[in-house]
């Protein structure tokens, strides 16, 4: 494999555009996945019996290979559309996000809940002001896994005709044989850099949002 720095310099615009598209597809999937998982979690909190069926459905979707799920959706949402990609990408985040949110809420000690109820909090106030802040480390742990996985997964959308860094790896890489080494390696490295950056960003967010955890750790 020969790396050609000149190719990178000459194609910075293109690399930038594909990176932006990659970030866009990732963020969209994680944000929508987070919103749906939050709704499912509120549902499970009210009706705990729904937890098992929800895990069953999201777990089954999780077990379907990405290329196959993109393929199964095409008759409904079209070949190589953003909608096809996003439905598949969102459904992969649901298992991890919902499970971590529900388990996070369940980890809140019972006496804390009683104290909140004793202070006159309504169920919704308790959720927003007490349960969610305490569950935050577990929720964000789920968010980190889902985000890092989605960054990697978005590469596959290139096979369905979309852009993203998978386009550098496959269309400009593998398909051009020996001339493709530089684009492919650029795509792979950018993918890992994006994943690590997103992970650190979310870790920083968690630290910023839960100052009490740090204080407790230092004493």
């Amino acid at each position: 494999m020969r790396i050609d720095p000149a190719w990178i310099v000459n194609n910075l615009d293109r690399i930038g555009a594909l990176t932006v598209e990659h970030v866009y597809l990732t963020v969209l999937a994680v944000v929508i996945g987070f919103a749906i998982s939050f709704a499912l979690t509120v549902l499970v909190r009210a009706r705990p019996g729904l937890y098992e069926p929800i895990l069953g459905v999201t777990g089954t979707m999780y077990a379907i290979p990405s290329l196959a799920l993109f393929a199964l959706l095409t008759p409904i949402t079209g070949v190589g559309t953003v909608l096809t990609a996003e439905i598949a990408l969102v459904s992969y985040t649901l298992l991890i996000l919902t499970r971590n949110m529900v388990e996070g809420l369940r980890g809140v000690p019972a006496d804390v809940l009683e104290a909140a109820a004793g202070m006159g909090y309504t169920s919704l106030q308790r959720l927003v002001r007490v349960e969610l802040p305490l569950a935050l480390p577990v929720v964000i742990a789920g968010l980190r896994i889902a985000t890092v996985s989605t960054v990697a997964l978005v590469t596959v959308t290139a096979l369905t005709g979309l852009g993203g860094l998978g386009y550098l790896i496959i269309n400009l890489g593998v398909q051009r044989g020996s001339f493709g080494a530089t684009p492919a390696l650029t795509g792979l490295v950018l993918c890992v850099v994006l994943a690590v950056a997103a992970d650190l960003l979310l870790l920083g967010l968690q630290r910023a949002l839960t100052p009490w955890a740090r204080r407790r750790a230092s004493t």
Binding site: I64, A71, Y92, P137, A152, V156, L159, I170, V174
Partner: protein
């Protein structure tokens, strides 16, 4: 929405059924049987390679406690590396050597992908074995080798096999992507479908791939249950899910990222 779309869906499913009924779907180099067999042997070789690397390494780390941090770090970084990228780089690296032949680049990438779950679970499984049990085994005069094979591995077997199951499902699922680097498998049919815009072929093959993945998951779940010692069944601390790396970590889906 509405009635017309309902008819379209039924029509489409009829076309898919006709595709499945067509003898052409079942014969030749691109037929389902040929691609399925290819998919299975590519997956089997990759899993065997992952086991050959991951299992001894995981057992060594679990037994001695050495290198645990490095192993978990590598496994975590592994999640950030896209399988498709790994396959692409394996293909391009082997190309000038004249070794980018058929599914070989894909097998190398799949084998690498399969190592972390096996390694992490073998290590975690051994760590979870009651230290008093290990001490007792040493106390009755067992050698380190005997402690490993007669005590630690049997007790940790459900966790070790959970890792093998995660790897197997991940490899079978991701083998679909081998088609993108000239490695064939059932993914080839899907990519051909995307290239010529044949939605029936795309959908039909994707159904086969989805069933294969779910079937693999069920098969390895059964193996895991069957291989669990009766004395360990029903014990609350034996996880049926793969061990987690850190809090909520180690999540490794099957979907070939």
């Amino acid at each position: 929405m509405g009635a017309t779309e309902g008819v379209d869906v039924i029509e489409f499913l009829g076309e898919v059924a006709a595709w499945f009924a067509d003898p052409g779907t079942w014969s030749g180099q691109n037929g389902i049987p040929a691609r399925l067999v290819e998919h299975l042997w590519v997956s089997a070789i990759s899993l065997a390679a992952s086991l050959a690397i991951g299992l001894p390494l995981g057992l060594f780390i679990g037994h001695t406690g050495r290198g645990a941090l490095a192993a978990v770090s590598v496994a975590n970084i592994g999640r950030a590396v896209p399988s498709l990228g790994l396959m692409g780089i394996a293909f391009l690296a082997l190309l000038p050597l004249g070794l980018a032949i058929g599914p070989l680049p894909a097998i190398i990438a799949l084998a690498a992908l399969g190592v972390p779950p096996i390694l992490v679970n073998a290590h975690a499984g051994l760590r979870e074995v009651d230290p008093e049990l290990v001490e007792a085994a040493r106390g009755v005069g067992m050698s380190e080798w005997q402690v490993l094979w007669r005590v630690e591995v049997p007790v940790a077997l459900p966790v070790i096999l959970a890792g093998v199951r995660t790897s197997a499902v991940q490899i079978v699922a991701t083998a679909t992507l081998a088609a993108a680097v000239g490695g064939g498998t059932l993914g080839q049919q899907i990519l051909i479908g995307f290239n010529v815009g044949d939605q029936v072929r795309i959908f039909g093959t994707a159904l086969v791939v989805a069933l294969l993945s779910i079937g693999t998951e069920l098969l390895f779940a059964w193996i895991q249950r069957a291989a669990t010692s009766p004395g360990l069944r029903g014990r609350p601390h034996v996880p049926t899910q793969p061990a987690q790396v850190g809090r909520g970590g180690g999540e490794s889906g099957s979907w070939g990222s």
